[in-house]
């Protein structure tokens, strides 16, 4: 089962060297243990562009997250047997990246 682990941040500072090193080591372990699907850090929310092309005329605008206090700073997609395993990995991830996280399952198809 796959889970999205969203990294929640409340300021724009990028991860520092210690955090980066801890995350890199953690990611290596995720790969070795078969939990790794994907991970990545995101640039500041100001860099985001919202696109609405539902009416067949693409409208671009600044990201809605720019006004919110908390924003998505990065994400993991992990493979875990169940929520207990996902939460355990999430708890470790939160420590390593030194940020709050949300763990959310993908719809199981």
């Amino acid at each position: 089962m796959q889970y999205l682990v969203s990294v929640i941040d409340d300021d724009d500072t990028q991860a520092n060297d210690d955090e980066m090193a801890a995350v890199t080591a953690f990611n290596r372990r995720l790969r070795a243990d078969g939990h790794w699907i994907f991970a990545g850090g995101l640039a500041a929310p100001e860099s985001a562009t919202v696109i609405d092309n539902r009416a067949d005329a693409a409208v671009f605008s600044d990201g809605p997250f720019i006004e919110t206090k908390e924003h998505l700073a990065g994400l993991w997609i992990i493979e875990a047997a169940d929520l207990d395993e996902a939460l355990k990995l999430g708890a470790e991830a939160s420590k390593h990246c030194n940020r709050k996280l949300e763990v959310r399952p993908f719809v199981d198809l």
Binding site: A81, D82, L83, D84, A86, L87, R104, P105, V107, D108
Partner: protein, 415 residues
């Protein structure tokens, strides 16, 4: 069998078998919704058929078979519409287990209902519904919430269990202490809501909740007989519940411990509570929070007269409790015992040091009011009673505090 006997048999069977049947079905089909609904249907069938056909020789087995059939019928019906059957089977990868594991099923159910990824309110509601077998209207009434809101809460929790794949199992040894503490918190919360029910115009004590909390704790105790904290919580509940008749007066006022008619305490519950506390002390395993609270209650209920209470032992137990749970509420309760040992002045200085952590807690103001009263500081005492009455949610407690305040004989301060 007379109809009274039959009703009693059905009620007893319901209490004994509900969690067992739900838990077994949940393991077999991996779907709590299906387990709950099929079990409810099986009991409805029993209520309709047993008076006519007689009670089967093994009611538990009959219910399990009936509920299983209902579940399979449901799956077949739904499988025609979509691929639910496959989905239900894939929900959890739990291998089929021998029937000897049946005790574990109920424990699995309890740990799943009390999973930390669910909100506390959801854990309470799910535990009462799926493990306790209380109906949605019964739970809604006990917690003074609207039935649809409670129904939604339970539905949301079940759907989170399914879609986030909260596992249906007893936690591993590493996780067990923390997870068990979460289960005990839920049980104690249910007990306390019954013991000191909140909300004006409601029964001050909701025995359906205290009784249910004791029944559930007893079950966890049977399933985990070697855990001291589960036993401690059961003893604590028994020693508190034993005083239910004496706790509220005929006029609906809360009666404080020292004024209670000790003859009306439930001797059997007290004996059972004391026996558990003695057993735990004999193990010489360092006690946790619930065992210490039980021990404190054992000292209280050991005194035939309030004046015989061994306050020095109570203070010593609170000292011990403070070392593992240094919360202001424990410190407040310790101060109440200190008042009996060293006098109200010493106690008041301890209590006043606790502010502001407890400023919103009614018992803090009750304690101050009582201590100030004993020191003859009536005007301040009155003000403290006023604050306490404003914060207390329990109708019997409000009645008692109002009378205490009015006895002071001081006028409310002029505006």
């Amino acid at each position: 069998m007379t109809s009274d006997n039959l009703d009693e048999t059905i009620t007893r069977t319901y209490h004994e078998q509900w969690a067992r049947v739900v838990a077994g079905l949940a393991r077999r089909f991996g779907d709590l919704d299906l387990a709950e609904e099929s079990t409810a249907e099986a009991f409805a069938t029993a209520v309709a058929r047993w008076p006519v056909e007689g009670v089967p020789p093994n009611p538990g087995a009959w219910l399990t078979v009936t509920a299983n059939r209902r579940a399979i019928d449901r799956i077949r019906r739904e499988a025609k519409r979509d691929d639910k059957q496959k989905q239900a089977q894939q929900m959890y990868d739990v291998p089929p287990e021998p029937t000897a594991a049946i005790e574990d099923d109920r424990l699995r159910l309890i740990f799943t209902c009390c999973h930390p990824a669910l909100s506390v309110e959801a854990r309470v509601a799910l535990t009462l519904r799926l493990v306790g077998g209380l109906t949605v209207p019964e739970i809604a009434r006990a917690f003074l919430i609207q039935e649809p809101a409670l129904g939604r809460r339970i539905t949301r929790a079940k759907s989170k269990i399914k879609s986030a794949r909260i596992p249906y199992r007893v936690p591993s040894a590493d996780d067990l202490p923390g997870r068990l503490a979460g289960v005990l918190t839920v049980l104690y919360l249910i007990f306390n809501e019954g013991y000191l029910a909140t909300g004006p115009g409601t029964d001050p004590v909701r025995r359906e909740l205290t009784t249910e909390a004791i029944r559930l704790t007893r079950l966890v105790c049977e399933l985990m007989p070697h855990d001291g904290e589960v036993a401690g919580l059961l003893a604590l509940m028994l020693l508190s519940e034993a005083r239910h008749d004496a706790r509220v007066s005929a006029t609906g006022e809360l009666v404080p411990l020292q004024e209670q008619d000790r003859g009306s305490w439930d001797a059997a519950m007290i004996a059972e509570g004391h026996a558990i506390v003695r057993e735990r002390v004999a193990t010489e395993v360092p006690p946790g929070r619930y065992q210490m609270l039980a021990a404190i209650n054992a000292v209280h209920t050991d005194a035939a007269d309030a004046r015989d209470t061994d306050w020095s032992q109570i203070v010593a137990l609170y000292d011990q409790l403070l070392r593992i749970d240094p919360s202001p509420i424990v410190a407040l309760n310790r101060a109440v015992a200190v008042a009996e040992l060293d006098g109200p002045e010493v106690a008041l200085s301890l209590v006043d040091r606790l502010d502001p952590a407890l400023a919103g807690y009614h018992a803090y103001h009750v304690t101050r009011a009582e201590l100030l009263r004993r020191l003859g500081r009536s005007q301040e005492s009155r003000a403290a009673y006023d604050t306490a009455i404003g914060l207390a949610g329990n109708s019997a407690e409000t009645a008692y505090l109002s009378r205490r305040r009015d006895q002071l004989g001081v006028r409310p301060p002029a505006d």
